[in-house]
């Protein structure tokens, strides 16, 4: 028990820093939770949807615009190579078809991809986003049309005003127009659902739908059997941390370097007052402690006590 109390009495500076960190973490969690929407499926189960941030959507849009430009420029090069071999008459017709093609790339690129099964353009797919109907129903083709036709005023209009430029009266007109159309462009930042005007009209929003891989369980059978013999943590030791620390430990075990694992292992040993046994590796210690901590926290959770983090003393 003395070990658990040690950091708090040690130096006031440390705990002040820890408290600040904790507050920052909570604020961040709060911010993240504002992006979560609960969707109740017809089976009555809740699925949590996470809305895409304005930044992610801008990123996806930039990728898509880049792809559109590549298509346009590549076909234009292809066309100019072809025109040399054609008579002027058919060259004109070829150019006419390219112009129509250009229109479709400009306006129907998004529609083509969003109508598909994944409801996402390549840019959105790259960032793990997709379009969904706000009411949880199916995403209709009409919604996809609506949200993408509106794009013309959100991006096209400010761009045109910005290009207009000029001086004197026309300059002022351009500036006013830019300010007015800028409202449409910046619309997603100013509403809690991060909708752009097109989403509002179409009844859609853009959510995060990343593909997650199922990884092995750290407390898998073989390791647990091996560890339970060597590591025998007391209840007090397993109570030293909370769910937040458990999740951090999970991340450390799944993806960090041996160096970080070593540092983390040292800190946990110090905190719970564990003396390193001979032949004990950091990895084995961390995995065993993870298992013990998770067992303890899951037991308490079943009884209705969620110990959020190490400061959560009940």
């Amino acid at each position: 028990m003395t070990q658990t109390a040690a950091p708090r009495t040690q130096r006031p500076g440390v705990s002040l820093e820890a408290a600040t960190q904790r507050r920052a973490r909570m604020a961040e969690e709060m911010r993240q939770s504002k992006l979560i929407r609960r969707l109740i499926t017809p089976e009555g189960a809740a699925i949590r949807l996470k809305l895409a941030t304005a930044g992610e959507r801008a990123g996806a849009f930039l990728i898509d615009v880049a792809i559109q430009w590549v298509i346009v420029i590549a076909t234009l090069f292809g066309l100019s190579a072809l025109i040399g071999a054609l008579t002027p008459g058919s060259a004109n017709i070829a150019f006419a078809f390219w112009l129509v093609f250009f229109f479709f790339v400009r306006n129907f690129y998004y529609i083509f991809f969003e109508i598909g099964q994944r409801a996402a353009t390549p840019g959105k797919r790259a960032l793990g986003l997709r379009v969904a109907a706000r009411d949880g129903g199916r995403l209709t083709a009409n919604s996809v049309l609506a949200r993408n036709f509106i794009r013309e005023i959100e991006v096209g209009l400010p761009f045109q005003f910005a290009m207009m430029g000029g001086d004197g009266a026309s300059g002022w007109m351009a500036l006013l127009g830019l300010a007015w159309s800028g409202v449409f462009l910046l619309f997603p930042i100013f509403n809690k659902d991060k909708m752009r005007v097109g989403d509002l009209i179409a009844g859609t929003w853009v959510i995060r739908s990343p593909k997650t891989k199922l990884m092995h369980d750290i407390t898998s059978a073989a390791k647990a059997a091996d560890a339970s013999a060597r590591f025998n943590f007391t209840v007090a030791q397993a109570d030293a941390y909370g769910i937040h620390e458990l999740h951090v430990l999970e991340d450390v075990l799944r993806q960090s370097t041996p160096e970080i694992k070593h540092q983390v292992a040292e800190r946990i040993r110090a905190k719970i007052g564990w003396t390193k046994q001979t032949g004990e590796t950091d990895l084995a210690f961390l995995e065993a402690y993870y298992g013990a901590l998770r067992r303890r926290l899951e037991q308490r959770m079943l009884l209705g006590e969620r110990k959020a983090d190490k400061f959560d003393v009940r």
Binding site: A45, A96, F103, G137, L145, F149, I201, T212, A221, E298
Partner: protein, 332 residues
């Protein structure tokens, strides 16, 4: 020994086979569409989906393994969108659009269409009569843009030559008409999108385009070429102008829903109107493609005024029948 294992671990161990089976089916469906799924997959899917959803809610209350929860969240989201998503193919959607959605949306927007026509032809008439009284108005409207010399200073012979082609256009007209298509289709989409700002910019856009055409019309009328110019304009113009008017109507549908939501919330009203209006706007693009074909090929090949008038009347009649002819409700 099994008493030593975590409950949450055993829970996962027993079910992860099914989760992964669902994962495989979903990945296959996302990559290759529904057609790549076997009957067996389709039969298994609802059961696997329900199991994954219930696993998720149990896992949330008993497991603290972040990875399992995140995996199940993502799996259930994907499965939900697949199970309750649309299964129709692009072809089927196009057919319902042409058969039902488009004419129904146009039929449902008669008043906005009339309003839109009023703005467009109002602008047209205004410019036409102003220009007939005093041709200086033409320069006020068009500024320094020349429209290939179709201005009041041109001779009758020159203007006549722009109406008829000798059949050796070298495809230039085709290129020009596809340029016009781009322009018009973009304007149509703009007119739709600008409806969001309570329809005011849409009205302005309609009047502006009406003025542009009306003033040019006055130039030809003034030189005694009214009959010929009408034929030149209307062979595709019936379709094209109808499309512009409908695009304006789409804008007004949205504008009206945003400005006067009635009993609904503003958001719900905008959403309901947006779907209908988008259907109309999509239809406008289709109409403008047809107009561009008529313009690029029809007008170039047909130099007889009478045939031009006949085509104009024919297309007008076809559109009216297609949109407004009462039809039986098809069920199912």
């Amino acid at each position: 020994m099994s008493g030593d294992l975590l409950k949450s671990y055993r829970f996962r161990e027993e079910r992860q086979g099914d989760w992964q089976k669902l994962d495989v089916i979903l990945t296959r469906a996302e990559n290759g569409g529904v057609k790549r799924l076997s009957d067996e997959d389709m039969l298994a899917l609802p059961r696997l989906y329900r199991q994954a959803v219930s696993s998720l809610s149990v896992a949330r209350s008993i497991s603290l393994d972040q990875n399992v929860i995140a995996y199940l969240e993502s799996l259930c989201t994907r499965a939900y969108f697949f199970v309750y998503g649309a299964r129709t193919t692009i072809g089927e959607r196009m057919m319902t659009f042409l058969r039902r959605d488009w004419p129904a949306a146009v039929r449902g927007a008669v008043w906005p269409t009339l309003l839109s026509a009023l703005f467009f032809f109002g602008g047209w008439g205004l410019a036409f009569f102003l220009c007939l009284q005093d041709m200086d108005w033409y320069w006020t409207f068009h500024g320094a843009s020349f429209l290939e010399g179709r201005n009041p200073d041109a001779t009758v012979e020159y203007l006549r030559s722009t109406i008829y082609t000798d059949g050796h256009g070298d495809g230039q007209l085709t290129a020009f008409s596809s340029f016009l298509f781009n322009n018009n289709a973009q304007i149509a989409l703009f007119a739709f999108a600008l409806g969001f700002a309570f329809g005011i910019p849409t009205a302005w856009l309609l009047v502006y385009n009406g003025v542009m055409i009306g003033s040019m019309y006055a130039v030809f009328w003034d030189k005694g070429l009214g009959y010929e110019f009408t034929g030149w304009l209307m062979i595709h113009g019936v379709t094209e102008l109808f499309a512009i008017v409908l695009a304006g109507a789409a804008g007004f549908v949205i504008g009206g829903a945003v400005a006067f939501p009635g009993g609904q919330t503003r958001l719900a009203s905008a959403r309901a109107a947006g779907q209908k209006a988008a259907t109309i706007a999509m239809g406008c693009v289709v109409m403008l493609i047809i107009a561009a074909l008529l313009e690029g090929f029809g007008r170039q090949l047909i130099n007889s005024d009478l045939v031009r008038y006949a085509i104009a009347a024919g297309t007008g009649l076809l559109w009216m029948l297609y949109f407004y002819m009462p039809r039986r409700e098809r069920h199912g």
